[in-house]
C-alpha cells in the first residue's frame, strides 16, 4: 500500500487548486470561430466549383451572419485579456510556434474578407441597394470581378481558422487532455458541421437543404470516428493521459460530454437528418439547433476539462 500526500503552500488565484485561467470567453470564441470557418468554407467551395446559383444559400445568404459572429467572438477574446490595453502587441510580431499568433493574424485577414463577402452579396437582402460612393462602387466591382480569387483566399483562411482553434489546445503539453493532435481535426469537423447546419437554415431550395443535411451527416460520422480514436489514443498512452481521459469515462465530465456533446449534439441530429433524407417531415430547425448546441458544448467541456487535467508529480 502506498499513500501519497501533497500539501502546498501555494494558492494563486485561477491556478490553485486547479487551473481555471480561461472561462466562458475562450470556448464561446472557439465555437464562433469554428462556425464562421465552416460557413465561409462552404461559401468559398461552391463559388470555386461554379455552383453559386444552385447553392445560393451557402454562397450568398448564410455568410451574412459571419462578420457579426466574428465581431462577437473577437469581443469575447478581448474581454478575456487581462492586460487589455496592450492587445495591439499581437500585431507587432509573427510567432510561428504560437497558435495564438497564427489565430490573431488569421482573424486580422478573415474578418475584413467576411465583410467584403457580405458587401458584394448585399443585393441578396436589399435588391435595390446601390453603392453611392464611387470608391466603394469601384471596390465592389473589383471584388465581384475577382470573386473566385477571393474565394480561394477565403477557403485557405477558413481552414486555418477552423483547425487552429483545436491546435490552440493541443499544443499545450502541460494539459494532458488537450495534448492530442486529434483535437485540430475534431474542432475543424465540428466547425464545418456547425457551418453546414447553419447553411440549412438559409437554404431556399429543397435540393440545397438535402445536400447540406447529407454533408452534415458525413461530418458527424467523422466527428464520432475522431472521438473514438481520441479515447483509444488516450487509453493507450501514459498514465497522465489515461487519467485525463478518465474525466470523460466515469469522472466528473462523463455525463455532460456523452449526453450533451455526443447524444444531443451528434447522434440525435444525425438520426433526424437520416429521417429527413428519407423524406420524413422533420422541423428543419431542430437538427440545426442540436448541432449548434453540441458544437458549443464540445468547446466548453474540452476547455474546462482540459484545465482540470494535469501532470502527476
Amino acid at each position: 500500500m502506498r499513500e501519497e500526500l501533497i500539501t502546498s503552500g501555494r494558492m494563486n488565484a485561477h491556478i490553485d487548486p486547479h487551473l481555471e485561467i480561461w472561462h466562458w470567453h475562450i470556448p464561446l470564441y472557439l465555437f464562433l470561430g469554428g462556425l464562421t470557418a465552416g460557413i465561409l468554407f462552404f461559401a468559398a467551395l461552391y463559388t470555386i466549383l461554379g455552383k453559386e446559383e444552385r447553392y445560393a444559400g451557402a454562397v450568398r445568404r448564410a455568410p451574412v451572419v459571419v462578420p457579426f459572429l466574428l465581431i462577437i467572438g473577437l469581443a469575447a477574446l478581448f474581454l478575456d485579456l487581462r492586460h487589455k490595453l496592450y492587445f495591439w502587441q499581437l500585431y507587432t510580431t509573427i510567432k510561428l510556434e504560437s497558435p495564438m499568433s497564427w489565430g490573431a493574424w488569421t482573424l486580422m485577414a478573415i474578418t475584413p474578407i467576411s465583410v467584403i463577402w457580405l458587401a458584394i452579396h448585399i443585393q441578396e437582402f436589399f435588391p435595390k441597394w446601390e453603392w453611392k460612393n464611387i470608391i466603394l462602387k469601384d471596390l465592389n466591382g473589383f471584388f465581384v470581378k475577382n470573386k473566385v480569387g477571393l474565394a480561394w483566399v477565403m477557403l485557405v483562411l477558413s481552414l486555418i481558422l477552423g483547425i487552429y482553434t483545436g491546435i490552440l489546445f493541443s499544443a499545450f503539453n502541460a494539459r494532458p487532455l488537450w495534448n492530442t493532435s486529434i483535437l485540430g481535426p475534431l474542432f475543424l469537423a465540428s466547425g464545418l458541421s456547425a457551418g453546414a447546419a447553419t447553411i440549412i437554415l438559409f437554404a431556399r431550395s429543397h435540393d440545397e437543404r438535402l445536400l447540406f443535411a447529407r454533408i452534415d451527416l458525413m461530418l458527424i460520422g467523422i466527428e464520432l470516428f475522431l472521438i473514438i480514436h481520441m479515447f483509444m489514443g488516450f487509453r493507450a498512452s501514459t498514465q497522465v493521459q489515461i487519467e485525463a481521459s478518465g474525466l470523460f469515462l466515469g469522472g466528473p465530465y462523463t455525463a455532460p460530454f456523452w449526453i450533451f456533446v455526443v447524444m444531443l449534439g451528434m447522434v440525435v441530429p444525425a438520426f433526424l437528418e437520416i429521417l429527413e433524407l428519407r423524406h420524413k417531415k422533420i422541423p428543419v430547425y431542430l437538427p440545426v439547433a442540436l448541432v449548434l448546441f453540441g458544437s458549443l458544448m464540445l468547446r466548453f467541456i474540452i476547455a474546462y476539462a482540459g484545465q482540470f487535467s494535469r501532470w502527476l508529480y
Binding site: 503552500g9 491556478i15 485561467i21 489565430g103
Partner: protein, 177 residues
Amino acid sequence: MRYAMAIDTKKCVGCADCVVACQTENMVPIGYCRDWIVEVTDGTYPQLEIEIRSERCNHCDNSPCVRCCPTGASHYVEGGIVKVTQHKCIGCGACIASCPYDARYSHPDGYVDKCTFCDHRIKLGEQPACVAVCPTKCMYFGDLDDPNSEVSKVLKKRKYKSLIPEAGTRPHVFYLI
C-alpha cells in the same frame, strides 16, 4: 553561461522563509507567490518518508511558455532565465496554461508574473533572495558552465532529479536526493 539552482531535499525543513523573502524582495501582491513549498509523504505508517521541496519556475531550456506566447513577451535572457516583459504581455493566459509546473500567475495589474531568479540581484553579484535567506543553507545557485560554481560542485557530488523531465521542458532547478 547557464544559471541553475539546486535544492537539497534532505536539508529543507519547509519553513517557507524563501517564499516570504521572494514576496518581499519582488513586491509580490498579497495572496500570490512566485515560489512555494511542496511536502510529499510516501508510504504507510509507520514506514513513512517525507520529501520537502521549495518549488518555483524551472527556467527550462525548452520552455513551452516562451513558445506559446503570441507577442514575444515571454522570452529568454542571458543565462537561460525566462522572463516576461510587462508592457508586451496582453494577459491572454496561454503561458499560464502551458506550464506543467503551474509556476506562473496573473498579476492583479493584468500582466503575467513569475520567478526571475532575482536577475536584478544577480547583476549586482548577489544571490537570489530565496537562496540568500535560507536558514538551512539548502539552496545552491550559480552558473552551470562554471565548474567552480557552487551549483556545479554540488551537482557533481550528489544524486539529483528534476521535476517532470518527461514533459520535455529540460528544467534547470534540480533537487538533491
